[in-house]
Structure formats: structure tokens, C-alpha cells
Symmetry: C2
Subunit: 212 residues, 2 copies
């Protein structure tokens, strides 16, 4: 999924995904939601024998962090449609963050990119979330497995597993350079940012960025 490298936006991938979807439906990725599941599975990462990551099945039962609307890190990026992105984290990692202000090993952050609808039912203005999931991206911390501790995975439509995105891609350097805490964009997670400040876990690069 080399294209992920081109977009310097949320997760280093967002704008490119939006543009790809616009340019060609064939590039669209769509992941079915785990409707009907009523029990949270163990929330640590799981991999196949050949090193692909298994899609987290129950992330909609995890802890919600935030939602962005049409976010992009590229100036003047314009898409012909609106999109939401919802971020979830596994509960164990969320609890650890509250104690330490940073992420423990086996943290899994899931970014769900979801379509937006405007007028519909009795809604007249603004946007609500559509049933279509346009993409599912994972940022996972697994210290014994990944150089730099973290890796990205992008799950395509209908796929239960995903190859790791190469560490040469821009998403890694962008997160390292601009993430508020441990290469993650905690600056966009409103309930966690105050904890990071309180615990003194903001990355020096982020603090330096913020001064300018």
C-alpha cells in the first residue's frame, strides 16, 4: 500500500485515502463492521504466521478517543465529499494511559474512516455518520516485534488481515516528528491531552513545535 506514503495528514494517510476514493472506486477500501458481536475479545494484537496483523474484531466496544471531520495535514486539500474518522483504543491501553500518561506495550489504536451524510431523515444541516466504512487503519505498539516499537497496518475491504506498512513510509516519520506522546497524535485526543501534560509525557519535539 505504497500510496499511504504520500499523504502527510492524520495517521499520515488520510488525505491520500480521501483522494484515492474520489479518483477511483476501485481503490476504495471498505471494512464490514462487527455487528452482532456482544462480547469483547482479548484486545492485544494478533498476527498470522506470515506476519500479517489480524483485524481487531471488537474495536467498536473499545474506548472511544475522538472524531475528526475532513481533517488533513496538507494545506488547501479539497475533497468532493465529507468524511469522519473515529479513533478507538483497547481498554487496557486506555487504563494504563490514565496511570502513566503514555502508552503501554500492546497498545492498539484503530482509526475508522467513515462516510458522511448531510440531509437525511430530519437532519437539515451539518453531517451525520454513514453506514459505509471507507477504511480501517491500525497503529500498534509491540516492542519486541517492531523497530521503533510501533507499526501501521491498513485493512482493505473484506480482508481479515493486513501487511505491515513499510517503516520507510511517511506516516512513521510524521508521527515521530509531530506526535504529542510516543509518536501518537494525542494532541487530537481531547480527554488524554490534559493527562499527558499532568504526567509530563509530552514529546520534546511536540513541545518545541508548540512554542513556534
Amino acid at each position: 500500500m505504497a500510496g499511504f506514503a504520500a499523504g502527510r495528514d492524520t495517521w499520515g494517510m488520510r488525505t491520500l485515502i480521501r483522494f484515492s476514493l474520489t479518483a477511483s472506486a476501485a481503490l476504495a477500501i471498505w471494512i464490514a463492521l462487527p455487528h452482532g458481536s456482544t462480547h469483547a475479545a482479548a484486545s492485544g494484537p494478533s498476527y498470522t504466521n506470515d506476519g500479517e496483523m489480524r483485524r481487531p474484531e471488537n474495536y467498536r466496544e473499545w474506548v472511544y478517543l475522538t472524531t475528526g471531520f475532513d481533517m488533513s495535514y496538507v494545506p488547501n486539500a479539497q475533497a468532493d465529499h465529507h468524511m469522519f474518522d473515529n479513533v478507538f483504543v483497547n481498554p487496557e491501553a486506555w487504563r494504563a494511559f490514565h496511570k502513566t500518561g503514555t502508552w503501554p506495550d500492546k497498545t492498539i489504536l484503530v482509526l475508522e474512516v467513515r462516510g458522511a451524510e448531510g440531509k437525511g431523515s430530519i437532519n437539515q444541516n451539518g453531517n451525520f455518520q454513514a453506514s459505509s466504512v471507507m477504511g480501517l487503519e491500525v497503529h500498534v505498539k509491540d516492542q519486541s516485534r517492531f523497530q521503533g516499537n510501533w507499526a501501521f497496518f491498513g485493512f482493505r475491504e473484506g480482508k481479515a488481515t493486513a501487511k505491515m506498512i513499510a517503516q520507510t513510509e511517511d506516516c512513521y516519520s510524521c508521527h515521530a516528528d509531530h506526535g504529542a506522546v510516543d509518536t501518537t497524535f494525542v494532541q487530537f485526543y481531547p480527554t488524554l491531552m490534559s493527562l499527558a501534560k499532568e504526567k509530563g509525557t509530552l514529546a520534546p519535539s511536540y513541545v518545541k513545535d508548540s512554542v513556534h
Copy 2:
């Protein structure tokens, strides 16, 4: 909180809140988030002796349903700022909905109205969620307690309890007339709508609306 009656928008209250905030900071309601809590409390409703509802402390650990952006049920409503609203439900109710396609007794839906920021950190377009919570509203099902089974409560800044919103207010009739399932706006909760269709629990009034 009689003003809630005027806005025929999400939860029957949203536009009015947005306009009130714009018109007068004194009307703003702001609820501190339960940072630092690491254990989910029992998630059923709780009331004081004089009938006020206690604010759900751990709703950010509940199950996330959806986020709207600048939604309003009033045509051509314009606000001078953007807002997100995040909806959460207690886990027991969410699990029951997956089995039955409707809400059990003691369901609590929490609407968190949150400010939106635009450019900030490395974000160049669109909006991300601000640390400021502009309002917290609850829709609770308690069959032995409320006529019509459900009631609304709006929590003001810094208040741990709230009076019930009178059943003569518009939010009740709007939800009864337009809610897809059991007076709730499941049509805006993308992971639940398909379940309601599958289980045949859509309200006749909603189905009739949808035909037109």
C-alpha cells in the same frame, strides 16, 4: 431549562444550545470530563431523593455510537462556530440492543456536545475535537419512573445532578414522531440501524416518514 423546548434538532435541543452559547457565554453549559477514572462504574441510572438524575460519571468508558458535526433539524440554521456531538450508551443496553434490536429498561444515552477546532498542531483542514465540553444531555429509559418510559436531562456546567426536562417540551414529541426505534434516533447510529432493520424494530412512524 425551558429553552430546550425551542430547538427542533438532534435530541430536540442542539440548535438552541449552539445559539445560546453564541448569544451569551453566561448560558453556556460546560461539564468537566471524568479524567482519571479507570474503572467503569455500574451503568444504570441513579437519582437523588428529590428526583434529580446524577450525572453518569464514566460515560466515556461506555460504548460509542456516533458523532455528528453541526447537525441541526432546523432548515438553514447557521452558527458562527462548529460543534461535534458524540453519543455513548451504557454497555448493558448496547448488548441488549444487539439481541433484540431495541432498548432495554435502564438504557442511558449520553450526548456530549464538544467544541471544534480547525487549524492546530499540524492540522490544516477540517476540524478536530476541542477539550471544551459545551453540554451534556441524557436520554434515559426507566419504565417504572417515567410516563412514556423515557426522560431527558440536561446537565449544566459543574453540576452533578439535573432536573428532568418537562414532558411538555418539544424534544419528547420530536423523538416520538421521528425516532427510528423506541423514540431514539437510531437512524443516526450507523452500527445499530442495520440491526433494527434485521430485527424488525423500526417504529411505524419512522417507516412511514421514510417512504415519503
